[in-house]
Structures are given as C-alpha cells and as structure tokens.
C-alpha cells in the first residue's frame, strides 16, 4: 500500500477492482463504509461476479476476467479526451513531459508489440524505451506536454485505440456502465477530490498482472491521487504478515529491504553496487537508491558479523547467487522438482498441493523428492500427498517429516500489515504439545547443520559457520536454548559498530554511538561501521534518551492531522511515514493541494530543530526533508531515479505502457486490439501437464478462482475449525442462471468442472450474481470457484478437492505469479 487501511476513510471515490475486500479483508470495509456514510464517498466495484463487496457498491460494473487493461485503458482515454487530468501535478510530478527516444514505437504501430521485440527469444531489447537526454545527461522535457515525442502525447496515442465501443466489446461491460465508472472516477482529478484503488490477487494473478497495476498507476498519476490522503494505489495483502515476509526477503530475487539478489556474474561487491544502483545526473532528483551501497554493506555486516569488513567485501562472496538469467520463482521451482532436479523440500507454512497453480503437477512433483519437511499447524494435502487421490503410495519414495509449528498467538514478534505498519504482538499461551515457534525450529536446524559443517567441512562451510546467530543465551554446546525474538528484531534494526559521524556537517557531528542501536537508515554507512538486517526497518527498535525502545510496541493514540495517521501507534516503514510519496500531496510551494486533508504542509518560518534554520514540514513524516520543490528544489518521488512518477515505465519486461493481451487460455480466437493475442513475453512451460487450450470447444467457459471470508487460503487452518466448515462446507462453482439452463444444471446439484489439467466435482451455485458477457458479438459465460478445499480434510472427502487442479502453469511476464484468475473450463452434470 502507498497509503494504509484507515486512510481509506479519507477517499471521495473508492475503486475496488482486482479485489474483494468484504470477503477477503472484511475489516477494511469498516473504512470503506465510513467514507460512504460520513463523507458521502462513492464505492465502485468492478468484478466479473457480483461479490459481497459489490453488494455495497454505488456503482457495479461486470467485466470478463482478464480484461482489466482495456477497461482501464478506456478510462485513460476518457480522462485525456475530456481534459480531466490534474495538469499541474502531471506536468511537474510525473514523467509526462519527458521526451522519449524518437525510435520508440507502440503496439498501435507494430500490431501489438513495442519496438525492440525479438520473436525468437520472446524478449524485448529495450534500447528505444528510453528518454532523450540533454547535454548534462538529464531527460529533455516539454512542460507544455505538446511535443509529439513526449510521454503525454505517446500516452494519448497508445490509448486512442481504446475506444469505449472497443473496450465494451472486449470486456463485456455495457458502454453506459463504462462511462458511468469513468465519469465518477475521473471526478477525482480535481485538487479537492481524491480517489483510491484497492487491488489484490484479482489483478496480480494474470499473465499481464504487473501491467494491470501499471495501468491504474497511470490513472492515479493523471488524476493527482498519489501521495494524497484518501488516494494512492493499495495492494490488499492476502495474509496478515505477507508484507512483512516480502520485506524480509521471502522472494527468490530480493534480499531483505528490496536489495537485489546478486547474480553469479557479479563477482564482487563493487560490481553488484554498480549494477543495482540507479543513477541520475539531475541534481534535483534525490534518487534514494543511490544509498544502496550503505544498505548492502550494513546487511552483510548484520548477517556475517565480525568476519565481514571492508577489506573482504563484507563477505559478499558468501552470499548465494543466482545463475545469470535464472528464475527461481514458484512455477519454475515446481517445474524443476517435477523434472526430478530436487532431493528435498521444506514446505514451511504452506500447502502447495492445494495452493499451487496446476496442483496436479505440483503433487506429482512432490513424489519425485527424496524427502520433504512439512512445517505447519496441521498435516495437510502436501504432507500427505503420497496417500492422496491418484497416488499409489507404494511407488512414492518421498520420506515426509512433519514439524508442528506454533500458531501466531503462541509466539511473540512483529507483524507487518499491508499499510507497512509493523506492530509488536505478544504471546498469549505456550505452544501446544511439541509444537515450536518457527524461529525455534530454525534454531534447532541451524545448530545441527552448523555442527555438521564444522565437523565434516563440506563444500562451502564459511557462510554457514560464520552466520551471526546471537539470539539468546547459549548452553554448554554453544546452542541457543530459545530464540529471543527481541534480539532478532534488534539485529534487523541494526547497530553502530563504531562511533558514526555526519561527515557533511562541519565539524563532523556524532550521530551514533558505538554499540548502540542505529537510530535511522539515514545513519547507515558503507564502511562497516553500521549493520542493519533490513534497512527499511532501521528505526523500528532504537535507543532513545538512553533507553532501548521497541517502536513497534508503541500504542499511542494521538492523531494530530485528524487523518487517522496515528503516528505513535506501532511503527511504519520507512521512518514511520504513513503515506508514501507524500511530497506529491502539496503544490510546488509546499501548500497542500487539498487543505482539508493536508498530509503535509511546509512551514517556512518555524525553525528546524536539527539545523536551526527556518522551514519545516508539518504533518506526516515527509518523503525527505528537502524544502518544497519550487523551481529549483527536489522532486517528490524520491525512490525513482528521475524523481517523478512513471507514466512511461521502461523497467518492465512487457512494455512501457500497458497493452491488452488475452489470458493464455481465453475464449477468443483473436485479440481485437492487435494480432498479438497473448503477452508476447510470458514464459511458456512445455511439459504435457502444462497443456493449455484456447478457443477449444472442450473448455468453453471462462473461469476464475477466489477466496471466501469463511476460509483461510487453502483452508488448512479453517477446515479443521467446525464453525468455519459449517458455513462453507463444500467446493462450489458459481454460474449464471443462463449457463445453468443451457447445461441443464440445477442449483445445489453436484457438477464436474474440468480443464486441460484436471477435473473436480463442485456444488453448483446458480446465481443472478453472475451474468453472461456479450463479447465481440458472442455470448461468453464465466464461472468461479473458491480454492479453500482439499481432499484430506474433512476426512470423509465431503469438502471436495482444490480448484487449483484446474489452473494453468503460466505466470506474469514480470513476476511469474500464476495466472489463476482467467482460464478456461467446462462444466457438466456429474
């Protein structure tokens, strides 16, 4: 989230598209409905199905799964055609004015692809996706936005093709509905009107997932909604701490704090820093990532401790590296496992046998392992895969271990929610039976693995035996009896290992004392004098007035801005900023665009306590302390190398502007936007288990998967809970009355749903909440299935099995997140 949960109450228009907060984030609806009730805010819901969220909408628009880009592209066109964009914001705070390489061509000119496409490699050479530079190496700009090569004009050109008629014929949304949504949402282009967007897996789990979000980002920048209270673009995270786990390096390609995982060709720290530090020659751009060297050095210092110093590159060589071009995301990992490339697997807090796309392939992949460790609260379809449907347990050689894990209320620690709020939680009860906190399980493992490396040597013992592991008192064998979570949190925050000085001050000023917790990431150094396990969490556990303070445990209820920022409640990264890019919420002189909901304002006369000079920001923690932009000051988007919001986004694999491509499996022979039917850069998998079928009469209906309020993810935690199971006991498939009639299916009867990967039974829920779509002159039916069921529990099989047995093995071109929100199935009477 750029903003945070409570902030939804500050919006004038709330667009829910790609999410279903009433069912999957029920608490968020408190804020949505408070905005509706108290401020007359309007809720727009765009979803293929009339959901529980749609039931609360002021405007509901049905849209065929996988057509978000045409829907939003049409909105971009509407905003531009009707001059509804926020001109001052767009001209100054985005790259709309930047001049693009004259050789750049868009999909309109090249029939569906951007310039630089290599058909063989299914990849772009992005040379032409660049800006024209002036003699100082700064992008050339035209603030009048008239130059034919400026981003603004290219944007106009790109979306001139997304006419309402065309969009309607692709999405299946009636024209007047599209216009109603466009008109209402575009009303937030005024300084005193703000719109927010709430999305989740309904946007990400597509082969064009990243571009779905990009399309909305463009809209939010055009309307000046980024940085504003009640605005932003807000990912509703699907698990309570998934934001925290992503921050701390859960994904294969990022280390904690969004530092890139090095590839093997980067053989030393200097090469790594050179490659991953964005550069700018524009003195007005803060380019915060230019501090990357400090964060990686402090990270290495945190994990390798005293053995890491400047002379040995802080043991950079010990970091695991990816082979050049290697992708180790979910689909690839299980593809490799399927091919027998793994011996062992830790399924830690997950249930891939039900949660993984193409779950049948996943289950077969598990059978190729020699061993698996299942760490969970309950046994699940993953741990018991060898006795699941279609498995001959005699043929399966995988040895499975179950390590019972403690639940969240049986351990202490922090949890980071979607709003980047890290909040400390306490242990309510001791873990039951032999179950242990995850950290204690890791501690046991680490001690044993380290002992083996110490005794037997092994191929590369240094990174293991030298890992810092000072998380509690050691017994006589050197083993820590129990992990002290506070010690971990402090390591994440980081320490000063020497007295640290601000060298820009004359004389240099002491900003951190040796041995103390580091105060803020602004103090982190590249010379080994500081450590921080995750730079964005630096300031979460600090030394204040001689006392150690766990900022995440704070419970202050003050709300000085009256916007619900609650700056003394817990702690949000970065540096307790509650709304990021907040310097875009003020005009060039530092006056809030909307004084009624001022996130920030510049007080030119008040003395800055640190510098003793006049001029301070009041309100939220600003995105950098620099004075207002004016004509010569710093740009507001400090994490971007150019300092402005990217309407033109050359960093992605599949284009600098979002372009419509159909899902890998779709009901249409042709993409009516161009000759390029599917995302030209998506990775295709080649096993027969990965088969996909478009426009195949065997699988004529569009399908999507989703969660329900009553179950948690694959249901491992909730299917064992009789109260939850009572409310949602069985796999179901929702379909329109029209489709049910066509297939002679009665409400409540058992049906079979099949795809190119597998089939399951489901109870038909025939509903007027699903309606057939009119797409390209034909009728397209869509159905929807939850993915919270599995064969193992309830034990009598009454719940059915996972709908992921149907979903395809294909992912987004940028992130590789599987496309489970748009694929093709058949439905028939069982």
């Amino acid at each position: 989230m750029t903003n945070h949960w409570i902030d939804i109450k500050n919006a004038d228009v709330i667009l829910v598209m790609g999410s279903n907060p009433a069912e999957n984030h029920p608490i968020s609806m408190k804020w949505v409905m408070r905005a509706q009730q108290e401020r007359g805010a309007k809720l727009i819901v765009v979803d293929p199905r009339f959901t529980r969220t749609a039931a609360k909408a002021d405007v509901y628009a049905a849209m065929r799964s996988g057509t978000d880009i045409p829907f939003l592209g049409g909105m971009i066109k509407y905003i531009l055609d009707n001059n509804l964009y926020f001109k001052e914001y767009v001209a100054n705070y985005t790259n709309a004015s930047f001049l693009v390489n004259p050789d750049f061509r868009g999909p309109g000119a090249l029939d569906g692809v951007f310039s630089g496409y290599d058909k063989e490699k299914r990849k772009y050479d992005k040379k032409t996706w660049s800006f024209q530079m002036d003699e100082n190496g700064i992008p050339k700009k035209d603030h009048t936005l008239q130059h034919p090569n400026c981003v603004f004009q290219l944007l106009k050109k790109q979306y001139s093709r997304y006419t309402v008629d065309k969009v309607s014929s692709i999405t299946g949304t009636p024209k007047e509905k599209l216009l109603e949504v466009y008109k209402l949402y575009a009303s937030t282009g005024k300084p005193n009107r703000v719109g927010t967007e709430l999305y989740a897996m309904g946007w990400t789990q597509h082969t064009i997932g990243t571009q779905n979000i990009r399309a909305m980002t463009i809209i939010q920048l055009l309307l000046g909604n980024v940085g504003m209270a009640g605005g932003g673009i807000n990912a509703l995270r699907g698990e309570s701490n998934v934001q925290g786990s992503t921050d701390h390096g859960l994904l294969f390609h990022i280390l904690p704090g969004y530092l890139s995982v090095p590839s093997a060709s980067l053989t030393n720290l200097a090469a790594y820093i050179e490659k991953y530090t964005p550069k700018t020659k524009d003195p007005r751009s803060v380019n915060w990532w230019s501090n990357r060297n400090k964060y990686i050095a402090s990270y290495l210092k945190a994990i390798y401790g005293p053995s890491a110093n400047q002379d040995n590159d802080f043991r950079y060589t010990w970091l695991p590296k990816l082979d050049e071009g290697m992708n180790a995301s979910w689909l690839v990992l299980f593809d490799q496992m399927f091919k027998g490339k793994f011996e062992g697997f830790f399924a830690w807090g997950q249930n891939p046998a039900c949660s993984g796309a193409n779950a049948g392939k996943v289950r077969t992949a598990l059978s190729k392992l020699k061993w698996m460790v299942n760490v969970n609260l309950f046994d699940n379809e993953t741990g018991s895969f060898w006795k699941g449907p279609g498995m001959n347990s005699k043929d399966v050689q995988t040895e499975v271990f179950l390590l019972p894990a403690a639940s969240s209320v049986e351990k202490e620690g922090s949890i980071t929610n979607s709003g980047r709020l890290a909040q400390w939680r306490y242990k309510a009860i001791e873990p039951i039976g032999q179950s242990m906190a995850d950290s204690d399980i890791m501690n046991e493992l680490y001690f044993r693995v380290r002992e083996l490396y110490r005794k037997q040597g092994g191929k590369f013992p240094a990174p293991i035996v030298n890992l810092t592991w000072n998380y509690g008192d050691k017994d006589k064998n050197g083993k820590i009896a129990k992990i002290d979570t506070h010690a971990v949190a402090k390591e994440i925050n980081g320490y000063n290992h020497a007295d640290v000085y601000d060298k820009k001050a004359t004389p240099p000023k002491l900003i951190g004392k040796k041995g103390e917790l580091c105060a803020t990431f602004g103090n982190l150094q590249a010379d080994g004098s500081t450590s921080s396990g995750n730079w964005i969490y630096c300031q979460s556990y600090i030394m204040k007035d001689g006392k150690v303070v766990n900022m995440m445990a704070r419970r202050g209820k003050n709300d000085p801005t009256k916007l619900g920022l609650y700056p003394e409640w817990a702690w949000a990264w970065p540096v307790n900023r509650r709304i990021i890019y907040n310097r875009a919420s003020v005009d060039l002189q530092g006056r809030p665009w909307d004084p009624k909901r001022a996130v920030l304002k510049w007080n030119a006369t008040k003395l800055d306590a640190k510098t003793n000079k006049p001029g301070v920001w009041e309100g939220d923690v600003p995105d950098g302390p620099a004075p207002p932009m004016n004509d010569t000051g710093k740009y507001p988007f400090i994490m971007k190398p150019d300092g402005v919001g990217s309407i033109f986004g050359p960093g992605l694999a599949d284009g600098p502007f979002p372009e419509h491509y159909e899902a890998l499996e779709c009901p249409l022979e042709e993409n009516s936007m161009s000759k390029q039917r599917i995302n030209p850069t998506m990775k295709l998998f080649a096993e027969k288990e990965d088969a996909f079928f478009s426009c195949d009469t065997r699988y004529p209906f569009v399908a999507t998967t989703y969660r329900v309020s009553e179950h948690w993810q694959t249901g491992v935690l909730t299917r064992h809970q009789p109260w939850q199971l009572e409310m949602e006991p069985q796999q179901f498939v929702e379909m329109s009355e029209e489709l049910a009639k066509e297939k002679n299916i009665k409400n409540g009867e058992k049906v079979t749903v099949s795809s190119g990967r597998g089939e399951i039974w489901a109870i038909a829920m025939v509903t007027s909440r699903f309606k057939p779509f009119k797409v390209a002159g034909t009728t397209v039916h869509q159905v929807g299935l939850p993915w919270c069921f599995g064969w193992q529990y309830p034990e009598n099989g009454s719940g059915g099995d996972s709908s992921n047995l149907l979903t395809p093995t294909v992912g987004d071109a940028n992130t590789m997140i599987p496309e489970t929100k748009a694929f093709m199935v058949n439905v028939r009477k069982a």
């Binding site: 009339f50 529980r52 069985q730 409540g748 829920m765 025939v766 007027s768």
Partner: protein, 265 residues
C-alpha cells in the same frame, strides 16, 4: 401484561433496556457474527452441505443462535441486489415465548431486557415455538431450548454481545435501546423495524425498504390462541398441575396435535 420474571420490574427494564441495532445496509455478510456467537456460547459446529447458497446453516439451529440470511432480489440500479440480514431472537418486550412457557424460570428476562433461558428449567414442551412470531426457538437433542440470549452473561458484566463485538462495519450495534433508536432516526431511517412491535423489540432493524424485502413480517404478532390460552390455562401450572402436563394441554389447545419435531426443528 408481559412475561417478565418477578424481581425485575417493568420500570427497571425500561430504564436499563439494551438492544441491538441491525443495519443490513452496513452488513457485508462476512459472518464474523456467526463464528463469534459460537465461540462465546461454546456451541458446536454441525455437519452441513452446500445447498446452492452461501447461507449456512440454512436456518437457526439449536446450536446456531444467529445466521446471516442471503437473498438475491431485483435491483433498479445494479444487476441484482444482494441482501445480508441477521436472523436471531428479537428479544420482544411482549415475548410470546415467555407468555406461553409453562415452566417457571425456563425463559426469563434480564434487567437489560434480553429474553434469556435456563436449560435446566426447560421441560421440552416446545410451546415457545408456537408462541414466537419469528420462528426462533430451537430444541437440542436433549429437548432443551436454544436461542440467542443477547449474550446475557456478557451484557450483565457490561460487555457487548459477541456478535456486535466482532462486527467490522457496525452492522450490528449494541447499546441503550433509546439511543440506538434515535441514532437510527438521525441516520435517516424514519421507521425502525421493531420500534413498537410486540411492545418494542430488543432487536431493531434499520431497513431502507419495506420489511418484507428483508424477509420480515410487516406486523409481527403473537398468535391469538396463544394469548388466550396464556390467560386461561397457564395459571394452572402455577396452581400445581405440573408444568409438563399443563404444557401438553396448552400445546394441544393452542397449536393442535403434536406433529413431530420436524415442524419445530
């Protein structure tokens, strides 16, 4: 005269009467209320089936004191209108169940106005089923009554009923009945369902449209026969006929021959 227990007099209840304000417009159908109710009241989950609707269990059960009813109805503005309405005991002021109940203390009113029950004193006659205009009371396998009691144990200690406590959107609010009524009116609900029906309900509904759209009777009332027999026969049990016998008699007179459990679930 309504069935108030001795010891808690009318004026006490009027001063302290609490209520729930249920606002379907604010309900998102998440059913946190169903789970919270079972959690607090230690009620078991039962084996159910999906019958082609989200609503489950399909109706109130001896171990299910509240449910959300889901109904899809035509809409002028949307493709459909999907209503989520909390169904539970209405905690009538003039409670038909109490009026007809022949077992002293089996049903009683708390000082907050909740219609509560004592399973130990319930004789299993099921007369309350006939006396209830809302088809609320249910009987468990031991033939004992089960229904929402407004979390009588919680509210006696100044706590909020479990359902209202857990509701994320304020669709279930608990408080002083008078205050809830006036806040609903302030929010633009000219008529609040339950304001005056049956002496005033303890479960008030803020309906945007006619009650029947939400599955509610326009004018709920206790069956005439129940009222009559309450006046004539019920005193017999007090005189000493014995609750069970009196109960059977009243049941026959008021409801007719006992059909079986199916009609009372």
């Amino acid at each position: 005269m309504s069935g108030r227990p001795e010891g808690v007099n009318m004026s006490t209840i009027e001063k302290t009467r609490k209520a729930l304000l249920l606002s379907p417009e604010l309900c998102i159908g998440c059913r946190g209320c169903q789970t919270a109710c079972k959690s607090w009241n230690q009620l078991p989950g039962m084996a159910t089936k999906n019958t082609g609707t989200t609503q489950n269990p399909p109706d109130l059960e001896p171990s299910t004191y509240n449910i959300i009813r889901y109904s899809e109805i035509p809409s002028e503005t949307h493709d459909v209108r999907w209503l989520f309405v909390s169904r539970r005991c209405m905690h009538c002021d003039d409670a038909g169940c109490m009026k007809i109940c022949p077992a002293p203390g089996a049903l009683f009113k708390t000082k907050e106005g909740a219609v509560a029950f004592n399973k130990d004193k319930c004789i299993g006659c099921k007369l309350c089923v006939a006396g209830c205009p809302f088809d609320v009371p249910r009987y468990d396998a031991q033939d004992k009554i089960g229904k929402c009691n407004l979390c009588a144990d919680r509210i006696a200690e100044g706590l909020t009923p479990a359902c209202a406590k857990t509701c994320p959107t304020g669709a279930i609010r608990f408080g002083d009945r008078d205050e809830l009524l006036s806040s609903a009116k302030k929010a633009g609900y000219g008529k609040v369902y339950g304001e005056a029906d049956l002496g005033g309900l303890g479960a008030l509904y803020a309906f945007k449209d006619a009650p029947k759209i939400y599955g509610m009777n326009e004018n709920p009332a206790i069956p005439e026969s129940v009222v009559f027999w309450h006046k004539v026969l019920k005193p017999l049990s007090v005189i000493g006929l014995g609750g069970a016998i009196a109960g059977a008699l009243i049941h026959y007179a008021a409801v007719g021959p006992h059909k079986d459990d199916e009609e009372v679930k």
